[in-house]
């Protein structure tokens, strides 16, 4: 097939490469021309640089992208909750504050938090703090074997978590209260046989901004 009318594969390749580089030159020219036009327009109509350039605005938050996915969000939540136990609550709040709104939104979403309208960073943070509170409270051990003398005071407003271990199981009184509340459907206020858990984390209840 060597001396036929058709090009050898090597020649064919050379031919195509030539065509491609021609096209590339054309595109480069076009892009150069487009760049010139853009610069011209910008100067002629005084378009601010930030809008025309690719640079991201830092002022507005909406173009900002979340940097975490659902799984990471839940992991961060776990870490924050255990940090709340070991470090102080400020550290946790600071950590939340340092995160971006889109990341906070992902966490809030994964925790099933809902907001009326677009939530502020503050609302997101306090919602997440609320969930952390709930976790701590839910697993708090209401230990009835512990002597009364060791009972810790829960007066420390928000930070019920660290005071743990101190709730005395009120026996007789709550049994009758429980009874009155029986079958009151969807009655969230139904009393637990535990008098001191009424410290419900605010943000789990108040879901709005």
């Amino acid at each position: 097939m060597s001396n036929g009318v058709f090009r050898e594969p090597a020649q064919e390749l050379e031919h195509l490469t030539g065509e491609i580089s021609e096209l590339k030159d054309l595109l480069r020219d076009m892009s150069k021309r487009l760049g010139q036009i853009e610069r011209h327009v910008n100067r002629a109509f005084n378009v601010p640089k930030t809008l025309s350039a690719k640079k991201k605005t830092t002022k507005k938050s909406f173009p900002e992208k979340a940097t975490i996915d659902a799984e990471q969000a839940l992991k961060i939540f776990d870490e924050l909750a255990s940090a709340w136990n070991t470090e102080n609550s400020r550290t946790v709040e600071d950590k939340l504050q340092s995160m971006t709104v889109p990341d906070l939104k992902i966490i809030a979403y994964e925790l099933g938090l809902t907001f009326k309208g677009k939530p502020s960073k503050k609302a997101l943070c306090s919602g997440i703090m609320g969930r952390i509170n709930e976790r701590i409270m839910l697993s708090k051990n209401t230990n009835i074997t512990q002597p009364k003398s060791k009972k810790t005071d829960n007066s420390d407003g928000n930070k019920v978590a660290s005071s743990g271990q101190g709730v005395i199981f009120k026996d007789e009184s709550t049994q009758s209260v429980g009874k009155e509340n029986n079958n009151v459907a969807e009655n969230n206020e139904a009393i637990q046989p535990n008098s001191s858990i009424d410290n419900v984390p605010e943000s789990s209840v108040v879901n709005s901004t």
Binding site: Y109, G112, L138, N141, E189, Q192
Partner: protein
């Protein structure tokens, strides 16, 4: 004579309204209708929700057949309260023959022991705890040995939302404690409490297995919402922690029962609604797997 003893399951939670009564009834219905098992259901709640629901037909009219039977069982002193009364009498033989004057047949395979308001008296100092603790165990022995009664495969108890003497008596002899929770803070909060206090209260008896599951699951599509999932994870975590810390066996079930308005009419219309059938079957499969 090979008497296969029935598996006993008590539904309890200190919180009212989580679905103890609904779930007990739905399981009774699903298991008796869709398996070959015979089920006996007890209403131990003095509030009598289950008994009253059964006494009503759709539209709120009285179920005459049940009503007549119920009145005569009271007349003939064949209620659960009479049984307890006989049992707790000091120095007397527990003389209380059981038959279909004590047990009402809802269907061929689903039988029922209703509650009576007199059970309220239990909370006063009428009976003392030690005198009552063996009551249910002995009563079940009578049921198992009665020639007039069938052999039940499962016995379900709808317990009151508090630690009454009767629930104490059930919990100290049952095979499984079934705890429904709901996807909200208050209902979930009770889990840790109940796990801890169950242990305190039932000692020195061995604590039965405990199964916790989510009822009234809010769904989006066919999955729990993110919020419900949050509570599921947390309650599962509480169960795992309690099992690790103490000598209890608490399992959070993977199956869940969705929140469906149709369930409200399930008892009076005599059937678990179609869209809840699968969830209850799945729950039951997990229950029996856990029990065996």
């Amino acid at each position: 004579m090979a008497v296969k003893s029935p598996k006993t399951i008590a539904t309890i939670n200190f919180k009212g309204g989580v679905g103890k009564t609904t779930v007990t009834w739905c399981l009774g219905d699903v298991v008796s209708s869709f398996t070959d098992s015979k089920v006996l259901m007890f209403d131990l709640d003095a509030q009598m929700s289950l008994t009253q629901a059964i006494a009503l037909n759709e539209g709120g009219t009285m179920n005459d057949k049940f009503q007549k039977w119920y009145e005569s069982s009271i007349e003939r002193e064949k209620t659960i309260f009479d049984a307890l009364d006989k049992f707790a009498r000091p120095r007397q033989h527990f003389d209380f023959p059981v038959g279909f004057d004590f047990i009402y047949q809802l269907t061929e395979d689903l039988h029922f022991v209703p509650s009576v308001e007199d059970l309220y008296w239990m909370e006063l100092e009428v009976f003392d705890r030690d005198a009552v603790k063996d009551f249910i165990r002995r009563l079940l022995g009578k049921v198992a040995n009665s020639p007039k009664l069938p052999q039940y495969d499962y016995i379900l108890f709808d317990c009151p939302p508090s630690f009454t003497l009767l629930s104490y008596s059930v919990l100290s002899c049952c095979d499984l404690i079934l705890i429904p929770v709901n996807p909200d803070y208050f209902a979930s909060k009770g889990t840790n409490l109940i796990l801890n206090s169950l242990k305190m209260r039932i000692e020195p008896f061995p604590l039965p297995k405990i199964g916790v599951f989510m009822n009234k699951t809010k769904t989006y599509g066919n999955s729990p919402t993110k919020e419900t999932s949050f509570y599921m994870r947390e309650v599962a975590h509480v169960c795992a922690e309690a099992s690790r810390r103490q000598t209890i066996d608490a399992d959070f079930f993977e199956s869940w029962i969705p929140d469906r308005v149709g369930v409200k009419r399930a008892i009076t219309t005599g059937g678990v609604p179609g869209d809840l059938l699968e969830p209850f079957k799945e729950l039951w499969t997990e229950v029996t797997g856990y029990l065996s």
